[in-house]
Symmetry: C2
Subunit: 397 residues, 2 copies
Amino acid sequence: MTDFAATKAMFHLPEGMIYLDGNSLGPLPLAATKRVGDMMQNEWGEMLITGWNKAGWMAKSSALGDRVGRLIGAEPGHVVMGDTLSIKVYQAVASALDLNPTRKVVLSDNGNFPTDLYMADGLLKSLGDDYELRVVNPEDVADNLTDDVAVLMLTQVDYRTGRVHNMQALTEQAQAKGIVTVWDLAHSAGALPVDLAGCNADFAIGCTYKYLNGGPGAPAFIYVAPRHIDQVRPALSGWLGHEAPFAFDLDYRPGAGIERMRVGTPPVLQLTSLEAAMDIWDMADMETVRAKSIELCDLFIAGIEAKCPELTLASPRDGQQRGSQVSFKFHEGYAAMQAVIARGVIGDFRAPDIMRFGFTPLYIDEGDVNAAVDIIADVMNNNLWDRPEYKIRAAVT
Amino acid sequence: MTDFAATKAMFHLPEGMIYLDGNSLGPLPLAATKRVGDMMQNEWGEMLITGWNKAGWMAKSSALGDRVGRLIGAEPGHVVMGDTLSIKVYQAVASALDLNPTRKVVLSDNGNFPTDLYMADGLLKSLGDDYELRVVNPEDVADNLTDDVAVLMLTQVDYRTGRVHNMQALTEQAQAKGIVTVWDLAHSAGALPVDLAGCNADFAIGCTYKYLNGGPGAPAFIYVAPRHIDQVRPALSGWLGHEAPFAFDLDYRPGAGIERMRVGTPPVLQLTSLEAAMDIWDMADMETVRAKSIELCDLFIAGIEAKCPELTLASPRDGQQRGSQVSFKFHEGYAAMQAVIARGVIGDFRAPDIMRFGFTPLYIDEGDVNAAVDIIADVMNNNLWDRPEYKIRAAVT
């Protein structure tokens, strides 16, 4: 059981703000600033280069990997932190292609987050004209698991609608066709229970600045199944993935296990901030988080549908088919979201017409949901969004 | 002119330590901890997702790129921060290969830092058997600039000996043969004046945790020459390099100019720490830093050679041919370095027998050099290194 009152008390939540955008950037854990400050003063400041050993900086990537791994059903020792999600997508897909050398197609869907498609496209363009990125509708993925597909690359939870792919079934169907799977857990890790081991997943990747609350630019993670790891060529074969980084050999030899998926020098400030966030996650279990998340989302949907007839639900109504977010469509969604934000309810807009709200039980409760519904209803029913200043698009939305 | 007393006062330097390893990890700028703490509390904490616009997080990668760019002679708007040096090596070499599609060879030298070779090797293995990583001795590079070479990938300053490649001459000779150049400035940026524009360099990359003092895991940078940037396919084509990241288009279109070399979400904590470091660098000019660095290195060499006959200079004697470091060979170099470190002089060891000392005028002065020489002489002349505990190798050296 998770004590949500206790976890909520461990975050800094600004006065007068209801933060429903933790699916984009999680809030600051109260302990994070001191934790990072102490690391900077006492470790970087006092130990300097010896901090890599003495302060355990070099071991953080794997230690944090295991803590994240618990939330996504990974076997211990099979998740490691590093780089950005985009880079980890590239590494996972390149490594997966390598395990399936006679095939040239990467299959994905058009509900995937664009950077996954961009990174795969960039990789395949480098590999040559005989490689293909095949993008189908999310509902057509199962029918497109054909014998020419090398890698199935999917994001489990759609970033706009929250629709959840059936990881268990799709992995099984893909593997039956000799396809290697890469699962992006950006909107899954900390949002719903994931069972990578139980699903027999091949590769998984994700980020830690959303539901995991690691902070802006927190590192990504990568998972490789135990049955593959000793065969995997990391593709991005950096020195920290080498068997003996400090031997400075001229030839690359992959390190043991998941360590080989490391690339360059780890971002110690970001990792330290993530540690403070994972201290909170260590108090939580994903089953109660999931139950509470569905409860909050259902409450929000019921409230908005009762009070805002102009908004159309864009997320699955069945909580089991939905991530930890609720999206509504509105033709002036961008302006409406700006007006809602101006009233202190922070959600975000996703083109072309999606108003997106994330529900994160670690620090959002029923009172927040009810208050948010009232504010959104006020904005919608009084057309408070219909002002020119709300229609000017910012660079980052 | 740089006021070195003023810059020295802006770093935290532990009592009783003479830090000659700033070529591996620079010390903590005094302002950095508060700067990062303020960013965490006031920006992440209070602004949350809106910090990307309101606090200017999204603009940091280019703004810092220009500040680093001044130190390496880059045209404004042609350097951007991101990822790690290993990742940027990969991106630069892949992009450079793309500009030279009929050739299949990447030429480098065996004085290069291993991760550069590992990353290139990983890339070329992905591209296929017809690609080749050709590694020659540093002194043989010029003779190996043959018509089949696509890319010349060199680190300007040898990480072990400090030997400096002639960037101007090698770039010119390479380009005369139709070869695209990639220069790694890991041990150059902040160590000696680099003139990328004047040398007509094609690509350059580097890190910011060494001489630039950005902190452990500080981000890397990449430079692309103005004449290439609009033709470059970034290879690692992430969403933040897209023309319109927040349009969430399914197809990748490279962004304008150097922005296209961005990949994923930037590490805002690390970038903020780097800002504090660059505030100090903004007070410095590379000509006086270089003159002082040569003076300090010469003083160190003279002192060690006068007092430690067992140590053999492994760096060029001519300051112009040397980076901002001095290396000596000793058959028990590892143990000797541990003994020296135990006495408060921090250098590092590089296999097989190199004792390496970095000289960084922003915070190291003549008094430090003289005191370090005396301590090293005491260790060497009294065989203080000859203890079993100094011979046990740590994981990270």
